[in-house]
C-alpha cells in the first residue's frame, strides 16, 4: 500500500496530526485519482456506519441468569432448613406469591390487634441548638404481652425500643430524633414484625418486607 493511500486510511482513523491532515487533504484535492480512492473509501465507511444498532430484548439477561450453573445444596442442609430453619417474620415472605398473603396477614393481624387508633406524632418543643424533636408513636394491640419499636435509629433493637402499655390497650413510645428519614417496624411479643398501618409511606427492606417511613423535617 503506497504512502498516500496509507495516509487516507490514517485520516479515516482520525489518527493524523493537524499538519499531516492538511497535507493529505491538499493532495486529495490536487490528485483526481487519489480523490476517487478517497471517495470510494468514504462510501465504504458510510455503508458500515449506516448499520443500526440492534437492541436486545428484555428477556435476554434473565435467561442468561437462569442458565448460570448453580451451586448444589446438599440434601442434609435442605432438610435441616425445612425443620429448623428460621422463619422470616411470622409469614413466609420468600416468594412473590406471598405478597397477597402478606397483605392478608397484615389485615388479619391488624384486625386481631385492632389497630384502629391513630399513631400520634407530636412534635414537641425543640431544644435550642440540638434541633432534636421528640416523636411519639403508638400502636393498638391489647392482646399483646410486649410491643417494641425497632428501626434504623436504634439499630433495630427490640430491647431498646420497648413500648409502654396504656389502659386502653395502646402501646406508646417517645423517641428523640434529629430531622431526617427513618425506617421502622413494630415488634409484637418479641417475634411478630408488623408495619405501622398509619405510616405515611413504606419502603422495601431488602428482604421482602415493608418498613414504615417516618420523615422529620427541620423547622
Amino acid at each position: 500500500m503506497n504512502k498516500d493511500l496509507l495516509q487516507l486510511h490514517r485520516l479515516l482513523d482520525g489518527g493524523l496530526s493537524p499538519e499531516d491532515e492538511k497535507d493529505i487533504l491538499q493532495k486529495i484535492e490536487a490528485d483526481p485519482r487519489l480523490q476517487r480512492e478517497f471517495d470510494g473509501l468514504v462510501s465504504a465507511v458510510n455503508l458500515l456506519e449506516s448499520g443500526e444498532r440492534l437492541s436486545v430484548d428484555a428477556a435476554f439477561s434473565s435467561e442468561v441468569m437462569k442458565r448460570l450453573p448453580v451451586r448444589k445444596e446438599p440434601l442434609s442442609t435442605k432438610i435441616r432448613g425445612f425443620f429448623f430453619g428460621e422463619r422470616v417474620l411470622r409469614w413466609n415472605v420468600a416468594s412473590f406469591v406471598a405478597v397477597s398473603a402478606v397483605l392478608l396477614v397484615i389485615i388479619v393481624s391488624g384486625l386481631f390487634y385492632q389497630s384502629s387508633g391513630k399513631s400520634y406524632r407530636v412534635a414537641d418543643g425543640v431544644s435550642p441548638g440540638t434541633a432534636v424533636k421528640t416523636v411519639s408513636l403508638s400502636f393498638n394491640a391489647p392482646e399483646a404481652k410486649a410491643v417494641s419499636l425497632a428501626g434504623d435509629f436504634n439499630k433495630w433493637s427490640i430491647e431498646a425500643g420497648a413500648m409502654k402499655r396504656k389502659d386502653d390497650g395502646t402501646w406508646t413510645i417517645a423517641v428523640p430524633l434529629k430531622p431526617g428519614v427513618y425506617h421502622y417496624m413494630f415488634v409484637v411479643d418479641g417475634e411478630g414484625w408488623v408495619s405501622d398501618p398509619q405510616a405515611e409511606s413504606y419502603r422495601d427492606d431488602g428482604f421482602g418486607n415493608k418498613n414504615a417511613i417516618l420523615r422529620i423535617d427541620s423547622i
Binding site: V108, S116, D152, K155, W156, S195, P197, D204, D205, K210
Partner: protein, 294 residues
C-alpha cells in the same frame, strides 16, 4: 481452655491496637463469641473477622450488635464472617457504611436466614460501588453538591434504585437533566428516590419515568418530591389499580394540586387515614425487591 486463651490474647491485641474503640464493645464481642456454640476454629476466625472490621473503622458498637445477634442463632459462623467481610469491603472502598450496617442489623433482628443476609449485603455493596461511580461521574459532569455529607446518602439512594432494577441509563438521564436544570445533588437524590418508590409500588419504568420527568420539568423541590410519595401511599390505601393511581397522580400534577407546598416542609400532623383501614398498609404491590424489568 485453649480457645479461650487465644481469644483473650487476640482481644488484648485488639484493645491495644485500636484506639478510639470502646473497650466495653470489644469485651462484648469477645464474650459473645466465647459463649456461642460455634466450633473452636470458627470462634477464632469469626473473632479475627470482627477485629478486622473494627480495625477498618467500622464502629465497634455496630460490630458488637452484629456479632451478638449473629451468634445467638447457633449457625456455623461462615455466613456471619462473609457478611462482615462485605461490610469491610465497603468500608475499605470508601462507600457509605451506614446502609450496609443497617441492612445487616435489620436482617439479623428480623430473623432472616444468615446466608440470605450475607447475599443481600454483598449485593448491596456491589450496587453501592456502582452508585458511587455514577454519582462521581455526575459530579465531574457538573452536578452541584452542597456539602461533602450529601454524597453518602445520594450514593445510597442510587444504590437502592439500582436494586429495583432501574437501569443505569435511566439514572444517568435524570442526572443529566438535573445538571441542565442546575439542580443540586440532594434534589436529584430526592428525584431518584421517588422514582424508585414508584417502581416499588408497582409502576413500570416508563410510567415512573414519565411522572418523574414531569415533576422535574415543573421544578419540584425535594419536599414536593417526597410529597408525591406520600400522596401515592395514601392513594394505595384506597385503590389497588396502579393505572388509576397513575392517572390520578398525573391529573394532580397537571392541575398543580400535587405538592402545592401547602403541606410541604411541615412534619406529620396526626392527619392519618380514617380508622378501620387497618389492612391496607399499602404493601399490596412491590413484594420483594424484584423491581420491574421493562
Amino acid at each position: 481452655m485453649k480457645i479461650k486463651m487465644i481469644l483473650v490474647i487476640l482481644g488484648l491485641l485488639l484493645v491495644y491496637g485500636i484506639s478510639g474503640a470502646e473497650p466495653r464493645d470489644l469485651v462484648e464481642i469477645r464474650t459473645a463469641i466465647e459463649k456461642s456454640s460455634l466450633p473452636g476454629e470458627g470462634k477464632i476466625t469469626l473473632f479475627k473477622r470482627a477485629s478486622e472490621a473494627v480495625g477498618t473503622g467500622i464502629p465497634a458498637s455496630d460490630v458488637a450488635v452484629i456479632i451478638k445477634r449473629g451468634v445467638s442463632r447457633g449457625t456455623d459462623g461462615k455466613a456471619l464472617e462473609e457478611t462482615l467481610g462485605a461490610a469491610i469491603t465497603a468500608k475499605e472502598k470508601g462507600l457509605p457504611i451506614r446502609p450496609v450496617l443497617d441492612r445487616i442489623e435489620q436482617g439479623l433482628a428480623k430473623g432472616v436466614p444468615p446466608e440470605r443476609i450475607a447475599a443481600a449485603t454483598k449485593q448491596l455493596v456491589v450496587k453501592l460501588s456502582t452508585a458511587d461511580a455514577i454519582v462521581s461521574n455526575l459530579g465531574k459532569s457538573g452536578l452541584k453538591s452542597g456539602e461533602q455529607s450529601e454524597k453518602g446518602p445520594a450514593v445510597h439512594t442510587v444504590a437502592r434504585a439500582l436494586e429495583k432494577s432501574i437501569p443505569e441509563d435511566a439514572i444517568n438521564k435524570l442526572g443529566r437533566k438535573s445538571i441542565a436544570k442546575g439542580a443540586s445533588l440532594s434534589r436529584l437524590s430526592a428525584t431518584i428516590d421517588t422514582m424508585a418508590f414508584f417502581v416499588e409500588m408497582g409502576m413500570n419504568l416508563d410510567q415512573a419515568s414519565g411522572l418523574i420527568m414531569k415533576a422535574m420539568d415543573k421544578g419540584y423541590s425535594e419536599g414536593e418530591m417526597f410529597m408525591m410519595q406520600k400522596e401515592m401511599s395514601d392513594m394505595m390505601r384506597g385503590k389497588s389499580n396502579i393505572n388509576d393511581i397513575m392517572k390520578n397522580m398525573d391529573t394532580m400534577m397537571n392541575s398543580g394540586t400535587m405538592g402545592s407546598g401547602a403541606m410541604g416542609g411541615k412534619g406529620m400532623g396526626g392527619a392519618s387515614t380514617s380508622p378501620g383501614t387497618q389492612g391496607a398498609c399499602g404493601s399490596g404491590m412491590g413484594g420483594m425487591g424484584g423491581g420491574h424489568r421493562h
